[in-house]
Structure formats: C-alpha cells, structure tokens
Symmetry: C2
Subunit: 368 residues, 2 copies
C-alpha cells in the first residue's frame, strides 16, 4: 500500500532549462525506523534555494499553475552537471503529523504525534522521515515547529564548535537573519561574546533591540574601524559567514590581523602569531570568495555544514542541542514568516521572486 | 667587545620609499646558547624577497654602490604599515664558521665548526644564531650547507604534516622549484604519491627526469583533465601551494571535487563528502586568492609556515628531520645556484631584477 499526494520537483536539463513543478507522486510505506509524516508547514530556507531555483532567470520564466520553467545562466547550468536530468524533491525541514510508522520502536513511538522532521523533501503533502531525526512537538503547532532544525541546530552548532575549538567569542556575518537572531540569544545565555556584522542601520537597530552588544554595519564608511574595535573588545578571531562570495571573510581576517598586529612588539614579515579561523556555511553571494594577501599565514578558511558537524559532535551533544531547541521553541528559536503559500503558490512569479531575494524578515512558509 | 662588519638593511618609509643598503654594523658578543657565525654563503629564497624588495619598482629605482632606493607601489606600501620606518636585517638562512660562542654548552660545542644556521639576518658578514638551530656541516662546504634549512625542512614538513593528517598523497603547485624537486625525491623514498603541477613542458621534462610519476602542465589546454586524472590515480585530496594568488588552489579543489563527485551514487546539493585540504605556504603571486563556489562545503584552505609547524610537530620529529637533511645534503637536498653575488652585487639592478623574478633554476647565492 502506498500513499498518493502532491510534491514539488526541480529538474535541471543539460541545456540549462530548469523546471520546477508540483507533481502527483506515490509515497512508499515507512519501513524500520521510518515514519510517514503528513506535512503541514515547511520553511523556505536559503539552504533550500540553491536546489529549488538556483540562479535561474525568474524574470523571463514561463509560469503556469503549479509549474515554472526558467533558464539557468552559465556558469551555474554547467556547474550543476551532477544533477542534470534528475527530477529532485526539495525542502530540508518541516513539521506535520505522523500518519504511518515502520515496525521499529522509535518509529512506532511517534505514531499519531505532531513532529518536526528533516526529510529533504518537505515541500510535499507527505514525507518519509527518519524517526531518529524527528522532534515530537507536544502541544506546539506545526508552524511553530517547522523551522526547528536547520536554523536552531546551526546556531547552536556554531557555539558548540567554538567551544570545541577553545573559543569564547564569535564573529557572525549577515547577522540579522532568523539564524543570526537566534545566535544573539544563545550567546547571551551562554556567555559567548558575539560580533554581529550587518549591512544597514535598521538591522543594527533590530539586533540592538534584542540585546546584541556588538553590531557593526558594513555600509558605514568606518566599517573596518567598527569591526576592529569589536574584535578588540571581544577577542573574536573565529567566525561564521553565510555570504561566501565577495570580501566578507577577507574583511574579517584583515581586521583580526590588524588587531593582533597592534599588540605585537616586533615586526614579523609573516604576520602575527594569532590564529584566525572563518567558516563559510552558505552562499548568499554566488560570486567568488576573494582573499587578499594581507594577513600573513596564520589563518584557516573552511566550509561548514550542519550534517558533518553533527556527525563529529556525536549523539550526546546533538541530543542536548535538540532538547534545548524544544524547550526554547517559542522564545530563542521562534521564527517569523512574511507569508504562507501552498505548493502551487510557491511557483508563482511574485512569490518565487520575493523568497529568492532572501531579504531579512521576508521568509516564506509552505503549507501543503 | 663587539665585532664590526657589513650587513644588508631594508627600510620602507610611510611614503613608499624603499631603501636597501649595505651598512656597517656592530655584532654583539654571543650570550648563553648563541653563537657568532662568520657568514660564508646565504641563499636568496622567495621567503626572503617579500621583506628584501617586496613589489618595489626595480625598473625606475636609483642604484648606487651598495644601495638601491625604489618606490613601493600601493597597496603594498601602506599594507606593510607595521614595518614603516624600521631598518630591518634580512636573510633567513645561510652557512659559515662559528667564531665566537656564548657560555652555554650547546654553543661552546660548536666553536670553530662550520654550521648551517637560521639567523634571520644572513645577508651579512657576521650573524648571531641560536645554537639549537645550527646544523654542524662536518666536511661539507658552506655553499653545500647554505640552503639546508628553509627548503629541505619545508619539503620534509609537508610529508610529515600529510602523515599526521592521515594522508598518503599530496598535490604540489609550482612543483619545479628547488623545494619541489626535493619533495619529488622525498616522496619517492617515503612511498607518498605526489601530483606535481608545473607551468611548462620543460618543467614537466625536468621533473620526469628525476623520476616524478605525475606531472601536470597548467599551460596545456587539457590541464584540468590532466589534474583530475592524476588526482584519481593518486587519491590526493590534500596539497600545498606557494603561489597563493589567483586560481591555483581553486583548480585543485575543483578537480578534487569532480573526482570525488564522479564516484557518488546520488546527487548531493552540498557536494561530495570528500574532505579537501589545501595549504598556502607562499605568495609568489601577490594578487588575491580566488575561490569559486564549485566544490561544496567540504574543503579547508589554510596558511602554512615552517616555524609554527615545527612547534606543533615537536622536538623529536624536528630532530629526525634535521638529521635526514644532513645525511642527504648532497643528494636529496642539493641546491644549485645560477650565480654568486657579494652583498654589494646583490643590490645592482641586473641582479635584483633577476633574482626577484624567482624563475626556476635561477637562484642566487650571497657570499658576503
């Protein structure tokens, strides 16, 4: 017996044609520790957009009910060679009700419950999910729990990772995001110093409004001076950047090195001995990352993703993080949405254009 | 009592004026475990050039006997703010005879011996050096021992570091250098696979001539194909790059990811699970490092310097490395020089222009 329902699929052809459509599909019965979740709410995160729409030209796309066909420009079309011709489901996370469960104990225990889950195909009426990754939501609504994985676990992951690396201070770029606001609250509670980099005065005000101490505005003329002062005050030589392209990481390394060099006695042609580390965890800017030779050799730049971090952190740490998400779901980890859309409404020009812009405070929630 | 002798100094003023000159100076008596070495030979390494000349305009410089005055262009002049106005000695390494020793046992034991040393001021008639970093050369000439530290220890350091990180294969860029040739021989002896990236057919021939198995030519149209094939054959997802600027690292990450992705069953929007790591250990190209978003998040790029590596590796490993350098000084670690120059000859237009070009096979040796 299988369950039939609607699901969003994205397909990129070798010629650069991207088709995103609502299709009718059959969901298999859950096996072992799988559950079948009737999806009620799923956020559109930046981490979903690369697969869903990428850099497709939404202006010239063809829109029909439940379907859009757009042109993916180069180099993105040929750069995504590995997915050419594959009809891929989308949607990292969401929440809904368990309507069928595999024979495994963990799966059976969730039967009938409302859960947050990470199926990787959340933009659908149903989704098969791993019981071990499901978070029972108790009395919380599906909307309250829809974003309880990606952003909360990533923000908690930064703090856990910083501690593992012996750090007590973090620099965070694009810090006014939903995730960034969570990080502000986590760092406050945990006594971790945080340097928030934002790009407008309204974002400065937003973060100061929730209690952030160090907020620097990259649009200000004295941005580098602000950044140096905040790094000096916090000792943050360690940070996370979801922008990826451009010079954000470069600015951080530069400011960190300048702060470190100002404390050195003698000139050292190789730069300071201060180790500087930045993590790129997103690609809001798909342009190249630019690193100028202005901070010696004492730096490390590395990609950061939640899944490998959780594998590295281990089950106990991950369990503790998930427990914290649940108990602070409507406070620290509350998400807000600009608009709710159905699967069909997701694929209109107006909606797609707006949520792909990934503007702060304009997050969409899909309610299948 | 002090010893008087000639020494090269480099001074960068805030206005971008670089003065490099031979000056008369007084060398203090060695104390504790210091020795005073009468310098006989010192190589001009790429790692010396940033401090010695940087990007100064040698074409329009003013040359007089034992002195050159040149203009340092922006952004390099203001980028080196920390050294403005300081009269700095130059020359990482060299060899000579110990003519005075501090009262320490290690220093006294070297009295009268010919040693290789790492004084950081090797372009001089005398230099104060740390006895613990001196390598007694026995019957070897000063010329044979002059380059026994920077290149040999760096090449050995790569292999040691690779082993520490659980790697059995290395990618090396600008691989036809003196250091690169040493690395070819070390990897052969140690059973480490090596992918050599060079930029001309003559460099391919040079490395194949000393037994290198995988040599790829970045000037060839099918460079990326060659690089992928070599990475596939060796399993090298780990490498070292002395160029720094430009797209060398990017090409390596791309090729590594393409090899890893070709072995994946399913498409993963975040790239393969294969961890890729590159180290930048030089800045032959002072332009920015360009990283394109085409290899997911499973990569790390980090600066690499010999001194912090040795501190991390510990005394036993470093001692073993140094012993190996001494026993293979005229084989694995033999250096060749295009020309020998005095301190004064170093500062002529012809010499400075040639050695700053850092062309393969055109290394200079200073014989004060």
């Amino acid at each position: 017996m299988t369950t039939t329902g609607k699901q969003i699929f994205t397909t990129l052809e070798a010629d650069g044609t991207l088709t995103v459509e609502v299709g009718e599909t059959q969901f298999p019965d859950p096996k072992g520790n799988q559950v079948l979740v009737k999806m009620e709410a799923a956020p559109i995160n930046p981490s979903d957009l690369a697969l869903l729409l990428g850099s497709a030209d939404l202006e010239t796309a063809d829109y029909s009910p439940g379907k859009l066909v757009a042109k993916m420009p180069e180099p993105f079309a040929s750069g995504a060679k590995a997915r050419h011709g594959q009809r891929l489901p989308v949607g990292n996370e969401g929440a809904g009700t368990v309507v069928a469960a595999g024979e495994g104990e963990a799966a059976q225990a969730l039967m009938g419950q409302r859960v947050a889950c990470v199926p990787g195909q959340a933009y659908a009426e149903y989704a098969i999910a791993d019981a071990g990754m499901c978070l029972p939501l108790g009395d919380h609504s599906a909307e309250a729990g829809a974003s309880s994985f990606v952003n909360p676990m990533t923000a908690l992951g930064f703090v856990e990772n910083a501690r593992m690396d012996g750090q007590r201070a973090i620099v965070h770029a694009a810090a006014a995001s939903n995730l960034g606001q969570m990080l502000v609250k986590i760092c406050q509670a945990d006594g971790i110093e945080l340097v928030n980099i934002v790009r407008s005065q309204s974002q400065v005000d937003l973060l100061k409004g929730i209690g952030a101490k160090h907020v620097v505005n990259s649009s200000d003329d004295d941005f580098m001076k602000q950044l140096r002062a905040a790094i000096e005050a916090t000792g943050a030589f360690y940070g996370f950047d979801p922008i990826g392209g451009g010079k954000t990481v470069d600015s951080c390394f530069k400011a960190m090195e300048q702060v470190a060099a100002s404390k050195m006695g003698d000139y050292n042609r190789y730069g300071s001995n201060q180790q500087k580390k930045m993590h790129i965890y997103g690609r809001l800017d798909l342009g190249p990352t630019i690193l100028t030779p202005s901070y010696g050799f004492g730096w490390t730049l590395t990609g950061w993703l939640l899944t490998p971090f959780m594998a590295q952190a281990g089950q106990e740490t991950v369990g503790r993080m998930r427990q914290r998400v649940l108990s602070e779901l409507t406070t620290t980890f509350a998400s807000s949405y600009k608009r709710k859309v159905t699967l069909e409404e997701m694929l209109t020009k107006e909606a797609a254009t707006e949520y792909r812009a990934m503007k702060t405070g304009e997050k969409y929630l899909v309610t299948p």
